[in-house]
Symmetry: C2
Subunit: 365 residues, 2 copies
């Protein structure tokens, strides 16, 4: 069979081949794809269910006027991720904390308070019970940090030769007063990155490949709702939401995230390389290995697009939090170069930051 007729690794890497797979084989074949403001076609971090409409429908037989008192109960937000990572344990963390954090963050960047999580695990025969228990504990600890219960689950086992590591799906349900999209960026909005890039991918790669870094580097994996919950409420002087768009730069890294936001919003993005928070250990490892740190995945960071008038206020709130102490304004949305991301280098030249293509380097999720 020609190689073009089968799944390739880059179909899961977050770049154009994945977008094509989703568009051609998923969206084209699923008839009903929406239950609210944000549906499958939006390819956002999650989707929404219009709970107002459902409640009105339910109440309409009783007294259609009463439903007015249920106004704006918020939108239910839902997100799902299946996590597969080798090794399951990495510096300072493991797949359990990663799964819970990833799902909480996908809710958080849509402006949603997490209400509950589900957890479905597939475990290969021979997997150590002590490792299994550590992973479950890490899930609980990450969930406790943002005060969200894990309310239902599923446990399956498979033969060892069918699977070489544990797979965890976490689905999160949240509620948002106002849903934040990844397509709401407007010209002039400032772009805040909540901390250093590449910590997760590079620490995992170093751990897996056994090379030494100059300093102790650990994954940044963390649930961000406590850090983000105050800023999602901030308003402009005109009473509009200060945050216009938000996304977590996981697969595809900051490069993938910024390009997606620029394309979906129909703006350009310009960033300053000198303002990018990055640890020395990460930049030197990337240089040595020929990896672009902008394409490396992060698991405890958010890209926040905010109205210019509120940028300093949002930044100072983020910096007060332990996960946001290295936050910085890294750039802004522009009228030029629509759908593109440009970066000014320290010597003043401009270069395009392209969306990642091909396989993930390193593969981290």
């Amino acid at each position: 069979m020609p190689k073009d007729n089968v799944i390739k690794m880059e179909h899961g890497a977050g770049g154009e081949p994945m977008q094509a797979l989703i568009r051609d084989l998923i969206l084209n074949n699923i008839i009903s794809r929406s239950a609210g403001l944000v549906g499958l076609d939006d390819l956002d971090d999650g989707a929404t269910i219009n709970i107002t409409g459902i409640l009105e429908n339910k109440n309409s037989n009783v007294n259609s006027n009463d439903s007015g008192n249920c106004n704006n109960p918020g939108e239910i937000v839902i997100t799902t991720d299946s996590h597969v990572i080798t090794p399951a344990f990495f510096p300072d963390s493991n797949i359990g904390r990663l799964a819970v954090s990833g799902t909480v963050n996908d809710l958080a960047v849509m402006g949603a308070e997490p209400l509950a999580l589900t957890c479905a695990m597939i475990v290969p025969e021979g997997f150590e019970l002590s490792s299994f228990e550590k992973i479950v504990r890490s899930m609980s600890e990450a969930a406790e940090e943002v005060d969200v219960p894990i309310i239902t689950g599923d446990t399956k086992t498979v033969e060892r030769n069918g699977l070489d590591s544990i797979i965890i799906n976490t689905t999160g349900i949240g509620i948002a007063n106002e849903v934040i999209r990844d397509c709401g960026l407007c010209t002039g909005d400032k772009i805040i990155l909540t901390g250093t890039i590449g910590d997760h991918g590079i620490s995992l790669l170093a751990h897996r490949e056994g090379f030494e870094l100059t300093t102790d580097l650990v994954s940044d994996v963390a649930p961000l709702w406590n850090m983000l919950k105050d800023v999602v409420q901030i308003r402009t002087i005109e009473g509009k939401p200060a945050i216009s768009a938000m996304k977590d730069p996981t697969r595809g890294g900051l490069a993938g995230t910024l390009n997606e936001m620029a394309q979906k919003s129909g703006t350009g993005i310009s960033i300053e390389q000198k303002d990018l928070p990055i640890k020395e250990a990460v930049s030197s490892a990337c240089e040595m290995l020929g990896i672009d740190p902008l394409e490396v995945a992060n698991e405890g960071k958010a890209v926040i697009c905010v109205k210019a008038e509120n940028a300093e206020e949002v930044l100072s709130i983020i910096r007060e939090h332990e996960y946001g102490k290295d936050a910085a304004i890294i750039g802004e949305a522009t009228e030029e170069n629509l759908g593109k991301v440009l970066m000014r280098t320290p010597i003043g030249s401009m270069r395009y930051v392209d969306p990642p293509t091909g396989d993930l380097i390193p593969r981290i999720c």
Copy 2:
């Protein structure tokens, strides 16, 4: 390492080893496990989120008296399942229809109308795109049958040597006026089985192992909400819900399901073997292979426990539906043999129907 310290296949088989794993290593290590009436500890088909409480809380700052008009908006029900099945295609169906049906049915047996589904797929490198597309289409068709959209998802790829088949997680969100539990069975309630047992497991086994059955037998995999939605509203003369408990007999088969319901409800269960709907092809294959058909998984059946006064009404509604034409009253809840299931054989003797132990035969999920 001693074999006792690792995951074994039976940890995923739905029997006592799985219950022990969940109790000792999951429930013991997760601190927060509930967001409503039914939580993780209940080990039901799903869990619930108390949406009334959330809305009241959200509205309380505005006008705490108004929330009374939001009374009984219902309980949000959520369920998750990760599906791994070899082969991914089996007589008349595939893992896509199985995933959607399984999730819709877990909502349906809790009395919940499905509102939306999520879909997270992990696909091994080399998986045929044409097969992938067929699976997605089957998911859409099953979802269309019960008018539920698929609103968000996740697509990951893994190296072929790490996984030998596609894995699909589906999570379902529904809303129930009154949640139906698997523990509500009362003495005297009648037990309805909505159709023939063993079709899924035996047709899959025959297909996989390549043996011929006497007749064409196909999997029963189907989404049951259209069949169940009318009966969940039925009331007794006193105005109480007619259905006291409901469950779908998947992993562990009818034996596993009835034992779980008896144990959780604190009643006995007595069934009549002669009343059990079973196809000739299934009973003869089971006899030949030494398999108990009561332990074989079903993917399009429900066990409905109903107040005796409403049993015939519920049965006749179920039988009108294509998925329920072979439905039968198979027994009732008893005051004796609490937590146990007894079956009267055709020659009049009684035997205990024990919960399945050890590995699934055949492994079907």
